[in-house]
Amino acid sequence: MQTMDMFSNILSSFIEPTQLSQFINFKVTFLSIIIESLPFLLLSVFVSSLIHQFINAETIYKLLPKRKIYGIIPACFFGILLPVCDCGTVPIARSLVVKGVPLYLVIPFMFSAPIINPVTVLATHYAFTPHVSMVYLRLGMAFFIACFTGWMISLLFGESKELNRHTQFYAECSCTCADNIESSNFFLKLRNTLYGACDEFFSMGKYLILGAMIGALVQNFVPRSSLLGVGQNNILSILSMMLFGFGISVCSSADAFIASSFATSFTSGSLVAFMAFGPMIDVKNTLMLLSAFKFRFVSLLIIITIGFCITGAVLINIVSGGKII
């Protein structure tokens, strides 16, 4: 601790106090995002590695419905079983795709899981206490976007996996790269699970760090009051809240409180858009998605999601008159 004090003393002789305090604010927010996401990231790299080692493709094929497109709606509910934050869903999604689950089932799961879980529902309920309708609108919006995005993906990409070159390689190399023998020995599988989790921790972790960095910059240098000017505009409020949700990268179980702090000045559609879009697509998970899937797929996915999110939010604004009901 003494070295810390010494260092900050040296630092403060070079930098002006206001800049130093900005810097410290940045550090606190940056590190807090990482520390908070760490358990979720670790959980998901372990789950993903376990799937990779212990579940074979045939088992998954047997579990999938015969007419696969019918699986989209159940896939949206699957998230209840695995309550992870949005920073945790990408590695799991990647392993599921590698194992042969089609993208149009994996993406709906990935989109709905951070929103549908009990913690997020409870937090949203607390944040908007007298207006329970916001909880239903958020859940409804999440299902709407997840289902329709899944359907669009099935039309556009079919059974294609859209993995990028690196992940393609990872998929073909069934050996977790530690040894070249696929083993049926339980302890070897366990050891390979650890190795796999470790590799994935590093390949996903760097995107988490980058995303947290951008999020912390936005938090510190974009005053929220600068958003207020567009609050009651039907379309602009939606667009700016979605952009805001994309940028700040906060946890899906906390964003409802931020949304509620805008409640008097923003349209209800834009608040729901913020709470549905942010957990699905933000800086962190876009970077993670790009590390696993083809660029073309990720960009189309984002465009489709934006489209459905705006559509849903505009409908909410028309029905509610922009007010929170």
């Binding site: 810390m4 358990p39 607390y126 690196h166 760097k206 980058l210 931020i258 805008f262």
Partner: protein
């Protein structure tokens, strides 16, 4: 066939990074500074995650040296090395950043960045204002002592239903912040409320009035005593505290307020 010893520098770096991350969180935990970053309800998860980091560090360390009969497939090694090269620097920089700079609290400049509750949401319900679980308790003739545990609820009550509390004595702690448009004898007393991590901190406070307001710059921590009154701010009627006693204090050990913390 001769046996070959392979040394994997990437595994060594990875295991050192994991070990340092484990250590960083251990230090934060033992210095009780983790609550500067995350809500205490996540402490347990972070502790578990920390041991997972240690397990991963050990697993990775066991990969540093390997013995094989055949030369290791070069394609294999190559592609993974490449993927990770760019990544290490981010991990190392983050660890350096975390260890060298002091663990500190968000300062008062962030209040205007994030928007104070009394300014941005004058009328909206935030945390549990209906069914107002505290209304009965606060109506008793005793004064109101604002505790960390009930901070957000009491602030909502005072800001949204000030009529119910006029003339009541209030004791509270917070730091000074001035919103644009406040008159020279007004300050706000503020705390950051944290739901998950410091990135989602929302400033919650109440307007205070005192003739000596000028003596307290933004960010000064105060312990105050005063009486609830009705005042006007931005042409909206608001609850405010007319201060009778003010004591400067150093920043408390736990500066943030964590709602829904179960009492221990």
């Amino acid at each position: 066939m001769n046996r070959q010893l392979h040394f994997h520098i990437h595994s060594l770096i990875k295991s050192l990074v994991l070990l340092s991350s484990f250590n960083l969180i251990r230090v934060l935990l033992s210095a009780e500074q983790l609550s500067l970053y995350i809500h205490p309800r996540f402490t347990f998860f972070t502790e578990v995650a920390d041991y997972l980091l240690l397990i991963l560090a050990l697993a990775e360390f066991s990969r540093v040296v390997s013995i094989s009969n055949v030369p290791v497939n070069s394609l294999h090694q190559h592609s993974h090395g490449h993927d990770l090269n760019g990544g290490y620097i981010l991990f190392v920089a983050t660890l350096f950043f975390a260890m060298v700079f002091p663990n500190s609290t968000l300062d008062a400049t962030q209040v205007s960045n994030r928007g104070l509750n009394t300014r941005i949401t004058p009328n909206t319900a935030t945390i549990e204002n209906l069914p107002r679980p505290l209304a009965e308790e606060l109506k008793t003739p005793k004064g109101i002592v604002v505790t960390d545990l009930k901070y957000t609820e009491i602030m909502s009550e005072l800001n949204q239903f000030p009529d119910d509390y006029i003339g009541k004595e209030v004791n509270m702690t917070g730091f000074v912040f001035r919103s644009p448009g406040q008159s020279s004898n007004q300050i706000s007393l503020v705390r950051y409320v944290i739901t998950c991590c410091t990135a989602d901190a929302l400033p919650y406070g109440i307007l205070c009035e005192t003739a000596s307001a000028k003596q307290y710059p933004d960010g000064t921590w105060l312990e105050i005593q005063g009486v609830v009154q009705k005042g006007k701010y931005d042409n909206e009627p608001v609850g405010m505290i007319k201060l009778s006693s003010i004591k400067k204090i150093t920043e408390p050990m736990h500066p943030y307020v964590f709602p829904y913390e179960t009492p221990e």
